[in-house]
Symmetry: C2
Subunit: 368 residues, 2 copies
DNA sequence: CTGAAAGCGCTTACAG
DNA sequence: CTGAAAGCGCTTACAG
């Protein structure tokens, strides 16, 4: 830890008053102690080559001895860059968002950005404008919007890019077109892959438990399920569709309902692992054997999935990679927007979809 | 969203060049547009009372019309306060840390702080000094250290408070004494409560699966388990202690090992829900009935716990409250350290322990 | 290789 | 109620 007091003493600087807190060293004080201009100290801090080796070393020594830390706020003010990324995330108690955030943080730290974390608790009603305003006000260099699309909570993103003073990148798929670049998971492919697997396992009556209707991801997985069934010439009746809320409880309830309407149900695609867990739970209660009587597939591959009873077949998503990629892309956008670069290459809003992987375990019947 | 371009036009300001990005309004431009000094605009921004109503309204109108956002960096520089809290957290894929972080963020947002998030990936080896230096450099007003204590990774915290220029608050228990205030969960009480419950259910051979030995929390839960057994005059042989790594796999392995050494095992206290899940899994494979043959208790009350098979008895911790309290306390410390307050009340390092709650479900035998 | 001057965008006393 | 001056801690040209 930086020992301001002792260091000050050894550097021959005035000892901080006994008021304990507050007094921080400035570049000016370091310059005085070194007998140079603040200028030169600045060069050393920024590791510029044009400083006499001897001078460099003397200043560097004082800096380490005193534990002087340059004021990033002041630096940001002059440079016009804060090296802060505004990250807007959602419900860290959910698996996906927390994984994405981990990926973002790791890559950001690696690239020298610090993260300003902003959690949205209700994607539909929270005041997005105020949040954007506040991020803007804090001079973040770029924004990563890692909120699942729910309802119209991304309406603002359709505004023309001339109205967005800083680069914004979306994590997660977008429903409508947008002028913003985005990185997402191919949720439709998830639905297809899971359903294909259930069909290959001999499934004839394959139900889906979707996430909430207003969630775009939930809709995409549903579409994938439908695509797969239709590709095999199978009917797609409404009674095979149940809606959950991502929680295990809703998965359990959904299975009861589905079996009520379709007693011959032999397979279930649950749109996430928690709901799949609820399905397993309900099946146990009803005495249905898994996978013999009921083949089950989830999505997410949460850590516990391999220890469910039986272990759960599921779809693994590269969420951390998505987070890391988001940082890389927003960084590129930031560089592109640097005033130094007159070229002004227009940021081409593109959507990048990452692919997923089916993890086959014991809850689903093997292909035959 | 703030529409800089149109707003500028309507306010009679020069339109930003077609370079699209970058040009932001400053207080100076707003002042010119309003025909007042920057001063007065500043008063309006800060909602000071001493401005003529008419002037106030005129300026306010320009501000909202143009979408002018005061530069927080500049403001922080003059005020000597950044309104940023440095939060150091760990492994968001773990249940505890992500809950605590949610609590912190929510309370911080409520109190007007923004959060600078810093994740540590390996609590034992990551460079803590560098991280502290960087937070210091970014002028955070205070630091919340929400990393589980592992090994000696909190050695720095023992330094005298004179060497810490900003308030620091620890979330989680501390092994040794420290000069820092902290908020934690009473982990020993968790161990006691879980074990007492198992004893009440008729347990005679009660094993524990601990977390990694270097984790302080794991040690505390172990001590609680031991306390309870001893209080009932029961033996505490080493063969009833297994060490896990918090993951479900390790819980499964641990049960096999425990049964090997103590075939008459009738109860298991798993130090978290994931390991308890592993125990359930292993018991199913071995054909042991739960709770008749084996009574199981976990810790955390993760969302899935109520849907395990059978549903899991566990201990619920007020983690979000711990996070929220941390913000409240660090805010108090920040105010106390304000230069304006000459009183300089010494921050009394105190440790606050929050209590937990046993949630009884089907995995454990009822008291008799 | 080094320094004097000006400025980043705001706020804090201090006058009036 | 309002403004001119100085300053927060740094960096960016510009001289030498």
């Amino acid at each position: 830890m930086v020992n301001v007091k002792n260091a000050a003493r050894s550097a021959g600087l005035p000892e901080p008053a006994q008021t304990n807190h507050r007094k921080r060293l400035t570049i000016k004080e370091v310059a005085e102690a070194a007998g140079v201009s603040t200028q030169t100290v600045s060069r050393v801090i920024n590791n510029r080559p044009d400083v006499a080796p001897e001078t460099f070393e003397r200043i560097q020594r004082i800096i380490t001895d005193t534990g002087y830390a340059p004021n990033m706020l002041a630096r940001s003010l002059t440079q016009g860059r804060s090296h802060i990324l505004g990250v807007v995330a959602f419900g860290l108690e959910y698996f996906g968002p927390s994984r994405v955030l981990t990926g973002i943080e790791q890559q950001a730290a690696y690239m020298g950005y610090s993260i300003s974390l902003n959690l949205i608790h209700d994607p539909e009603t929270d005041d997005v404008d105020r949040l954007l305003y506040s991020l803007f006000s804090r001079q973040v260099d770029g924004i990563i919007w890692a909120i699942p699309e729910v309802g119209a909570n991304r309406a603002w993103s359709h505004a023309s890019s001339a109205e967005r003073p800083i680069p914004v990148l979306l994590v997660g798929e977008m429903a409508g077109q947008t002028s913003l670049p985005s990185i997402g998971i191919d949720n439709r492919a998830i639905g297809r892959a899971a359903t294909e697997h259930l069909i290959a396992g001999g499934g004839r009556k394959i139900a889906i438990i979707t996430g909430p209707v207003r969630w775009w991801e939930a809709q995409e997985r549903l579409t994938g399920w439908r695509d797969a069934l239709e590709a095999h010439g199978m009917p797609v009746p409404d009674r095979l569709i149940a809606t959950g809320d991502w929680g295990a409880n809703s998965g359990e309830d959904a299975l009861y309902r589905l079996l009520d309407e379709e007693p011959e149900l032999d397979s279930v695609f649950a749109s996430n692992d928690q709901m799949a867990l609820g399905v397993l739970h309900a099946a146990h209660r009803l005495g249905r054997r898994i996978p013999e009587d009921l083949s089950v597939v989830g999505v997410d591959n949460i850590a516990e999935a391999s220890h469910f009873w039986p272990s759960l077949t599921t779809v693994d998503q590269p969420l951390r990679s998505a987070g890391a990629l988001a940082v890389i892309e927003v960084d590129e956008a930031i560089r592109r927007a640097q005033p130094s670069r007159r070229a002004m290459e227009p940021a081409q809003p593109q959507m990048r979809l990452l692919q997923t992987q089916l993890i086959v375990r014991e809850s689903s019947r093997a292909p035959r």
